[in-house]
Assembly symmetry: C2
Homo-oligomer: 310 residues x 2
Amino acid sequence: MSSIETSFNNLLVVGSMAFDAIETPFGKTDKIIGGAASYIAISAALYNVAVKIVSVIGNDFDENFLAELTRRNIDLAGVEKKLDQKSFFWSGKYHNDMNSRDTLITELNVLADFNPILPTPYTDVDYLLLGNLSPSVQSSVIKQMTIRPKLIAMDTMNFWMEIALDDLKHTLSLVDILIVNDEEARQLSGTYSLMKASKIIREMGPKYLIIKKGEHGALLFYDDKVFSAPGLPLEEVFDPTGAGDSFAGGFMGYIASKDNIDFETMKQAVIAGSVTASYCVEKFGTERLLQLSPENIAIRREEFKALGSF
Amino acid sequence: MSSIETSFNNLLVVGSMAFDAIETPFGKTDKIIGGAASYIAISAALYNVAVKIVSVIGNDFDENFLAELTRRNIDLAGVEKKLDQKSFFWSGKYHNDMNSRDTLITELNVLADFNPILPTPYTDVDYLLLGNLSPSVQSSVIKQMTIRPKLIAMDTMNFWMEIALDDLKHTLSLVDILIVNDEEARQLSGTYSLMKASKIIREMGPKYLIIKKGEHGALLFYDDKVFSAPGLPLEEVFDPTGAGDSFAGGFMGYIASKDNIDFETMKQAVIAGSVTASYCVEKFGTERLLQLSPENIAIRREEFKALGSF
């Protein structure tokens, strides 16, 4: 269960690549690498799948980071570089409890008119993960697939529920799994009970729903089954940025590596996502994820097993 | 694991017996039976242990409820009846999220000068559970024990941290397990991280710490080990009153029935507490707990097992 298998299954990741400037009670950063696709790709690649990224960057992006991704066998042919614009930039400050944050700056830049055209070899991937983007961009990617992937997962956020609910509902009708946090699940369903919310959301399209609960773990809903993954109690959450994306990346990386979507594999994949997310928050940005070895992954998976078994 | 064994181990429960008037988004009650000792005793008795209660009631208490407890083999010789006073009365209103509530009325009545004197056969019980009471009352009970129980557990609340912190710290130095919720653990330790809080609190005395997280389950800390029990996702939480007490009662009832305090038994006991608490919230007050059969307990224990296993 803790072994990591080599696999040639493809995982296509569509999402932002960005600069973030982050302030937490533990310190602050200058511009560092961020963006959903960055966290997702690094996390998924830990499970030895062939990750391809579709994203957009500006003339200021970090070439060293791109080289680092390439060394991890991550295919960047779908990363468009706009030479006349800057990369997406986000700056935020976390409150003391680390559960809430204020956005200080959002500069969309290249992301403002992001309209991804998939390179031909990308249109028949096995697995597709749509990071948090406008629902119309997400659905346009699905429509470019010439063969439907075995599994399509998506993230979203409150913002899209508020300004593009109809688009979001259309995209939801096209995917297999929605991955959101508890607050987002409550807003999307209009109900507080997560059990009720899971039914309402799955009637919108996705057969599977994952609700991330931060330090409290995650819930996986499918049919009449529920799985609860524990949250690993940590001494410190240093920087929560990217935790949700590294969860999604670890989850889909595991699924693609096993090339299996039965419920037992999904449960293991939720643990895989919990493992990468729990490492992600230990340092700023992608720093900790970039240090991880297969041994680190195996060790923490065992910690999760010990934590929840009775 | 799902079987319930007959046992002659004693569990002494010290706590309030009260009237509550409760308002939730689902409805409101007149005065119904409440109080920590009521919830604890009913829950513990489901695990076939010989429960004894030390408490105090007024001239207005419900004789039918006392008869119901006696039918469950719960010993009421330590329940003092003050004929010239009324029973403790609490009234509260829950907010829509069910996670917070406003206290509308607190009439201490008989509880104001509660100073329990233990009947002689109560001073050498095997297991002792101190419900939420003033820390000086809790420690006075411990000092009346002629033989130290195999395990002493206690509950407390923010109120005592604010007005009687020194007394609370003294009582903590005398017990084996503290059972509190996450907010209380954070206030008592002065730190947000539950991992850090668990160390600080255990340095105050109790070797074991249980942190209840409501819908998110519970954490058990001992030595360098942590166990995370999942929260059962429920369609509705009808009335959260007594959930914490029914958790504590199920927990200690299970421990006493097994007459074992190793970590594996403790983990099973946390699940037992989660089972009774999850039933408790399904109806107002003690109503649901009073309907439960051994089969109900076994069924829900299996639900918890399925929920968290991977």
